[in-house]
């Protein structure tokens, strides 16, 4: 179906490649020497806080901004300098940018009519079917709900069968419930039509739900790129550790690097971390462990062979959130660690002031360079 756009043979022929892309606005470097490849047909997410350069990157691909340096290409075709309307790329805009004077049908048909292809009516009908808006074809955008407008924006872009579909925070304006629904919907459509999606978002859950590959951006550069589970389980930087989910980061000193497991000194207690997950090998390092990986149990009550144990904790806060209970545990060195526990109902509940030991499997921890800010990438109050 992409044949009329001049697709080459076989998969991979229409990969999106950015090489050394830099975009400066005056003195401000929005995107700094970015290089990445998005394979054809994948669902790729650019994730980062506002101002990290993700939207600028998207606009460079769309042709709405010209990069200060670097090249953008799709397959073998260099599109760095081509005008937006000449690129095999379409965008779902953050504000949708639907044409208020046109009906839903004409909005969706807009791109086809501009290109003068045949069978506009029929293809538009099919697209309206795909985004489930057939009965709204005759309405104006102002007469639709937010979720429906979102689907018009999606259909209007998808009908052109672009090599790459760009989505700029497409779900940002929807309420939480509708957003969850649309996430599933988007993923379904992407799987169905096999077009490359590049999705910009600041919502880590959204990125993890939908994307095959996530690039976490911060300050104009990619901090880490990989599959959602890989980023979550094995972050390379404190920024990624904090921006995707939550992490406990504890200052440790590396004692022994001879085995497959590095031995660390954690405020006087010995813990281990796998070599593959150790991103620093000497000196000091941040030991990271996700709150849901930690099991808290009454001090001395359980045998902890083969796992990491930190003793001497005291429960300092208990919040019951339904599916789980979230504890804060104050450690002997004064730091409060987060522990999430599923409410399976099989363990006796811990209470405020209980003395506890914290345990987790060695393969669940990771070790990061101590030079980094342990608070980087934390979601601040008021951020959504």
């Amino acid at each position: 179906m992409a044949a009329e756009l001049g697709a080459g043979p076989g998969p991979g022929a229409r990969d999106l490649r950015l090489r050394g892309v830099t975009k400066r606005f005056g003195d401000f470097v929005a995107v700094d020497n970015l290089t990445l490849t998005v394979t054809q047909g994948s669902f790729f997410a650019l994730l980062g806080p506002s101002g990290c350069g993700k939207t600028t990157t998207l606009r460079v691909v769309a042709g709405l901004e010209e990069p200060t340096a670097g090249t953008v290409s799709i397959g073998d075709e260099d599109i760095t300098r081509s005008r937006p309307y000449k690129r095999p790329v379409n965008t779902v805009f953050q504000s949708y940018a639907l044409f208020p004077h046109l009906t839903v049908f004409e909005n969706v048909a807009f791109g086809l009519r501009r290109r003068g292809v045949r069978g506009v009516e029929e293809r538009t009908e099919q697209m309206l079917e795909l985004v489930e808006l057939r009965e709204y074809a005759g309405r104006k955008p102002a007469q639709l709900s937010g979720g429906q407008q979102q689907r018009v924006a999606l259909g209007r872009a998808l009908i052109n069968e672009p090599a790459v579909l760009l989505l700029d925070e497409p779900l940002g304006a929807l309420d939480l419930k509708l957003r969850r629904q649309m996430q599933i919907e988007l993923k379904r459509i992407q799987t169905e039509i096999e077009i490359t999606f590049v999705h910009v978002t600041h919502d880590q859950e959204e990125a993890m739900t939908m994307a095959d590959t996530i690039a976490v951006m911060n300050g104009g550069v990619i901090e880490q790129m990989g599959a959602p589970a890989e980023l979550y389980e094995n972050p390379l930087t404190t920024f990624v550790a904090n921006f995707l989910g939550q992490s406990n980061l504890i200052m440790t000193a590396v004692l022994d690097t001879s085995g497959d497991t590095l031995v660390l000194d954690c405020h006087g207690q010995k813990v281990g971390v796998g070599r593959a997950r150790s991103h620093t090998q000497q000196g000091r390092g941040w030991l990271g462990v996700r709150p849901e990986k930690i099991v808290a149990s009454a001090a001395g009550a359980e045998d902890h062979a083969d796992v990491n144990v930190l003793t001497g904790g005291v429960v300092s806060d208990v919040s019951f959130v339904g599916v789980s209970t979230q504890f804060l545990v104050r450690m002997p060195w004064g730091q409060e660690l987060m522990v999430f526990e599923q409410n399976t109902g099989t363990r006796s509940p811990l209470e405020y002031g209980d003395e506890v030991d914290l345990a987790w499997s060695r393969e669940h921890a990771f070790l990061l360079d101590a030079e980094q800010d342990a608070r980087a990438g934390m979601v601040r109050e008021g951020d959504s």
Partner: protein
């Protein structure tokens, strides 16, 4: 608080509010009745007086509808000229004002407010004075005429003043702000992201302009053309000061009949005909432009 025994009402349905809301209409309505409706009715009666009466000796009410046929027969050339001049004025104003309003809305950056002040700056001087100064600019010894003679657009004895060109030029000048401001208002509301979206959807800048910007500025085009065409039809100052009797418009005839000849039945008849024709044209125009379908 809900009084006992009465169902609570939703805010918008407050019966008190519904009962007194119409009071807001009263001042405006009174004004219109006293200063528009009653004079129009009076005008209608005057138009049916016996034309053989006079200002000095009074008129007799004879319900003479023949006055209308007479007025059209005697003055049809003035009507045609008025609508022609007003039509040319409106078209040229649109051609001049659209790029101007577009530039102010999209390209002027921090100069936007300054440029808008410049557009309305002519209003700080009286209409009459500005038109008078045009007669100086276009006079036979003036710089514009001699420039046009030098570059041989005009013959050596050609003139600008006292020609249709001068009258239409004056009309265009005087009504340009009335075209520019509504156009600016509707162009300024066009979201630049829509133009970006059009570009993303395979529209060249020109196609995007044609398919998105122009349709979205239609309300401004309609408002601007009406604000230009309607007053231009009835204008007499420009023809009076920049033209001769051979460029006179229907406004000049009405003005002369009312103020100089004191021939009230003819003046009233002509006024009402002008009003009806303009209203008819506007209704057809607005219907065709389909503004009610716009968002």
């Amino acid at each position: 608080m809900t009084p006992p025994g009465r169902p609570p009402v939703v805010d918008g349905e407050n019966p008190r509010r519904r009962r007194y809301g119409w009071l807001l209409l009263v001042p405006g309505m009174l004004w219109l009745v006293v200063f528009f409706l009653l004079p129009t009715v009076q005008l209608f009666f005057t138009s049916l007086y016996d034309p053989s009466g006079s200002y000095e000796f009074g008129y007799a009410m004879t319900w003479r509808f023949q006055n209308y046929a007479d007025a059209v027969r005697d003055n049809w050339d003035l009507f045609v000229r008025s609508f022609l001049y007003a039509g040319i004025t409106t078209a040229v104003c649109l051609l001049l004002a659209y790029p101007l309003a577009y530039a102010i809305a999209f390209k002027s950056g921090r100069w936007k407010n300054f440029l808008l002040v410049l557009v309305i700056a002519p209003f700080f001087t009286s209409f009459l004075l500005r038109t008078l100064s045009w007669s100086a600019i276009l006079s036979d010894q003036g710089p514009v005429t001699s420039f046009f003679q030098t570059i041989a657009i005009l013959p050596d004895d050609g003139r600008l003043l006292a020609t249709p060109v001068a009258v239409v030029a004056g009309l265009i000048y005087n009504f340009l702000p009335f075209m520019t401001l509504p156009l600016y208002a509707s162009l300024d509301k066009v979201d630049p992201r829509l133009i970006e979206a059009a570009g993303d959807l395979y529209s060249s800048p020109f196609t995007g302009f044609r398919k998105v910007t122009v349709p979205l500025s239609t309300p401004g085009v309609v408002a601007g053309t009406l604000l230009t065409f309607i007053p231009a039809c009835g204008d007499y100052i420009n023809a009076e000061l920049l033209g001769t009797t051979r460029q006179y418009m229907i406004g000049n005839r009405i003005q002369a009949a009312f103020l100089r000849e004191r021939d009230y039945p003819v003046a009233a008849t002509l006024s009402l005909i002008l009003m009806l024709v303009v209203v008819a044209m506007v209704v057809v125009y607005v219907r065709r432009a389909g503004t009610e379908k716009l968002v």
